[in-house]
Subunit: 126 residues, 2 copies
Amino acid sequence: MKEKELRRSLAVLPIGTVMKLTNLSARQIRYYEEQDLITPERNAGNRRMFSLNDVDRLLEIKDYLADGINMAGIKELYALQQQRAEQKQADLAKPLTDRDVRRILQDEFLNLGRLQSDKGPNYPAH
Amino acid sequence: MKEKELRRSLAVLPIGTVMKLTNLSARQIRYYEEQDLITPERNAGNRRMFSLNDVDRLLEIKDYLADGINMAGIKELYALQQQRAEQKQADLAKPLTDRDVRRILQDEFLNLGRLQSDKGPNYPAH
DNA sequence: AAAAACGTGTGATATTTTCTAACATGATTG
DNA sequence: CAATCATGTTAGAAAATATCACACGTTTTT
């Protein structure tokens, strides 16, 4: 699935194509960029070049706008989404620190203790 | 798989993008079109617009040329390939005519007859 | 060998596309 | 009502692309 993501993020489309694909005006597309909702690349001649991901996002933006959400709201949505993605990435990167390991082990011992002693008559099932 | 094919045949790329993607010069790309090896679409302003399939084909053409096949040869290859695709399509469209059915049945009967009589000592195995 | 055909590079010129920047505008919103 | 939002429109400049013609080194034909 890595190759596909690469393809989808390749900046190969000029604004004219994106206009047709999204039914947005050049003005709208540039404005959304100004609002940091998308960040198309630039080629050597300063022309904006868009990826399929950009097109997807523009279509999303259209939907959000149709739902009455304004630019600021959409930007906020993407910021949150971005944060969550980063967190997930970080979690994957270093799955367990030493502290995590110690904490987890300690928890297990605590549970062990609880299971073998201290079982009163109303000890919760399982 | 129909949606994917649609995407791959969408003419969305300008020649500049295709040049980068294929490492071919504009001259080469236009010449290959002149030789009917590709047929990019044109937008309202007469600019060539290419699909991902076009890019694939251009890369193929590059390979063929590197292998020493000339334009005419490549054109022939594609013509044959095209013919086979059409035939396959036709076969799928009307899988069996009445005549086919009768012929196939007759073949089976013939084979039956051969199996049950006429088996000499050297009858081929299977 | 001379001539012709191939595949490509290059240059000139015209047209189209895209860029930025500015001003305009109807619809909210404070 | 004044300000902000989201978009349209226009102007002028730069970039990308189109066609056409000529050049040129390599095969292929005659």
